[in-house]
Symmetry: C2
Subunit: 86 residues, 2 copies
């Protein structure tokens, strides 16, 4: 059981933290041509749904992980929309 | 309870399917400069951990959703490595 929990925490940390280097890369380079607007639109709404799901289930690990991911995905989406027009 | 399940299925579908437009965009444009290698490396390992977690928990919705995401994230990672050198 301990190993399963450990793998779960590793999974949550990696998939959440992975958006940090993307947000930094986009902020730093302002190169958004290779980033899909469709992906970040769908992904941001999806993560918002996960957050609501976590709240309804009273599952705080889901809420916390998805709140962090939501901020990062939203930041990338806003940069995509902003730098695309620049 | 039905609403909670519905929101959960919406969340899983959106976050999984969101990688389809990114994989297609990258395959079509071959523009990988704006994509973070750090993100897709960490994300792919994270999704692999989620798949193992789902198998250990005997939670097939987690396994199925993450297997699909794994294939898409791995395809984007391979394209990032391949087109970056081209």
């Amino acid at each position: 059981m301990l190993l399963t929990d450990l793998i779960g925490y590793c999974a949550a940390t990696l998939t959440t933290a992975s958006f940090v280097p993307q947000a930094w890369h986009t902020f730093h380079t302002r190169d958004v041509r290779g980033i899909s607007l469709g992906m970040y639109s769908a992904f941001t709404v999806g993560v918002l749904c996960w957050t609501v799901y976590g709240l309804l289930m009273d599952a705080w690990p889901i809420v916390v992980a998805n709140c962090i991911t939501l901020v990062l995905a939203l930041a990338i989406l806003v940069m995509k929309l902003r730098y695309h027009q620049a």
